[in-house]
Symmetry: none
Subunit: 210 residues, 4 copies
């Protein structure tokens, strides 16, 4: 049978949602496919949360084949991790109030607001949950995201040490206490914006009499 050139015209490069079709680009990873998959996954996650996040639905929305997804993200957790990492991290500019306790207060309020009010923030809970069942998720969480996102926090404590507010050796001891406090609050859904509550924690950690 002869090649039918009109069929090629019928094939569109974009999403399949509206009937279009993303053709293969040959023996190379298709950036379009990757993009479409990540977009679909992101949107799905934002719309229906982690419980509604399924590979089947991502494939449907992305107009992608499931094997295409599994080829690049061996497991559901891997895709989830990538989606999470592609999210715009919290627009959290580390505050410069001149005192550790007030820095912590400002930063924590912003962080909790982000966790509460953005899909990406809410997804973080799911990532922690996923990490309890999936080693890749755990590794990604612990070794990839945390170090990156903790830079700002570390910066605050380092500055405080530079100002002489706390001893420099204390920084690595205080960090996990601060992180843990926030996680504990997040995971028990106690991250309402309560400045007094946060202030107490901040002053306790900063060693400032209240």
């Amino acid at each position: 049978m002869k090649r039918d050139p009109s069929r090629a015209q019928a094939i569109e490069p974009a999403s399949t949602r509206d009937g279009h079709r993303r053709a293969s680009i040959g023996a190379r990873r298709s950036p379009q496919a990757e993009e479409a998959i990540l977009d679909a996954a992101r949107a799905l996650l934002a719309e229906r949360g982690y419980s509604g996040f399924s590979i089947d639905e991502v494939a449907r929305r992305a107009g992608a084949g499931k094997p295409t997804i599994y080829r690049w993200w061996p497991t559901k957790a891997d895709l989830f991790i990538d989606v999470y990492s592609a999210e715009k991290s919290a627009a959290l500019v580390p505050p410069e109030t001149g005192a550790l306790w007030s820095d912590l207060l400002a930063y924590t309020r912003a962080l909790w607001a982000f966790w509460r009010d953005t899909p990406s923030g809410r997804t973080f809970r799911a990532l922690i949950a996923e990490a309890q069942a999936s080693t890749p998720a755990l590794v990604a969480l612990r070794d990839k995201f945390l170090p990156e996102r903790l830079k700002d926090v570390r910066h605050m404590f380092d500055e405080a040490a530079a100002r002489g507010e706390i001893r420099p050796e204390a920084v690595p001891h205080l960090l996990p206490l601060y992180i843990g406090f926030n996680w504990y609050r997040l995971l028990t859904d106690q991250i309402a914006d309560d400045p007094e509550d946060i202030t107490i924690m901040a002053r306790t950690l900063a060693g400032t009499p209240q």
Copy 2:
């Protein structure tokens, strides 16, 4: 027809695993069924972890009908919560070393060992994860289990306050820092028994120079 006392004997009380049958005891919940289901669920959880924990399998093992399970535990999370609550809590006797930092050191080491080495401990991670997707699980975790299991911890801090090691008002501020630290370590799988590591945390919280 005469009463036949032997009929009561004809009714098998126990599991259906080997073909026996647990008869109804009337229009009231059967303690035997409940027991069998919780036992099966507990065993399944210990054997295969939370990911292998399914209502179907619990029903199979318990020799129970699935509707019987759903009648009493409307959701999988509810059963899981009940199973967890039936678990023997950590046999953690709060230490009495005479100093907060060493109390914390001893208690934390024991707690981490429990988390590491017992199925029940490992299940706690799953409960926290489940709580991120299920409101009942969250409520149970936050309002039912935590208050109960935190008594010992609170006791340690109260004793320290009584000894004058820390200010009494500081106790409710220090508690979430301590809990959060432990959760953070558990959830990132960093609960190896490292006495030095734990000591640092303990001294930081206790305000004792190291």
Copy 3:
């Protein structure tokens, strides 16, 4: 313990639908219970058809216990049979047109209308279907309902024989042909009111040239 007359007042004889309760009347079958069950079954059948006809729902509606139903109607088919038999049979007065073919025409049209337009009529299909899986239903259908309801039909043929239209010995041969024709039409859902169509059959059976 003394008899408490006030308790008897608390017990209402009627349906449980609105919270009332039908107490036992002693070691005899309760006509009220039977009535309530048959009523509920009849209503359910009319409302939801045979596929929606379940013992559970009948018990619910009747405010009866399931064992009460099973005590008197050992199987679902038995209850169904009773319900069917309690239905008012078709108000089919055998016509007296003076000729077999026109008697058959009139009777068949009325029968098909009954089958089409009344719940009871529609239920007859279900009874035939049920009879294919349940021996009691088969026996009831064949030996209980058919003889009864065929009286009118037989009467028409007998009259025709008396008038000399057909030979008397032919009656038992023609009957099953007539019945079978109607069943075939009913079971293949071909019982629209088509006078011509029916006339052809009637004339064929009556031996009248068309």
Copy 4:
């Protein structure tokens, strides 16, 4: 990676009963799966009758996933219809005795024997029953199977008309009487082999004095 011809061998074509697995053959319906499912359904139907015919059991026996079944047979009735249509139709050679009445006698006796003695025959009752609850089954029965299987019957009457035994216009009037008679007997379980009984019907229909 080189093509590994042995891989094709690694894929078991047959049933999964013993742990083997029927691999996908791409984005097209798998004839093997279809075959296995129909085989299993046929066997199950023969073994346990229609009441024992369940999708779950078919899936189990076929080593197929339930969704695979539901993908191709949206409803239980659809699968049943397909199974029935795959059954070998009755090996009923239309007799050529030279007279309608004796043709009918021979044919009817063979038909009843088939209905009595073969699973497929017994299944026909279930199909008629199913058709009373399921429109697809009704349509399939009326418009698919009947026209096909009535060819032989029609042939007998046509031949009789050709021989001048009956008027040609009478054929379509006699057919439903003959079919209906057989159905009526089948559905009331009155298809014992009674030559005299059948002869009477045959002579009545053929218009032959007995």
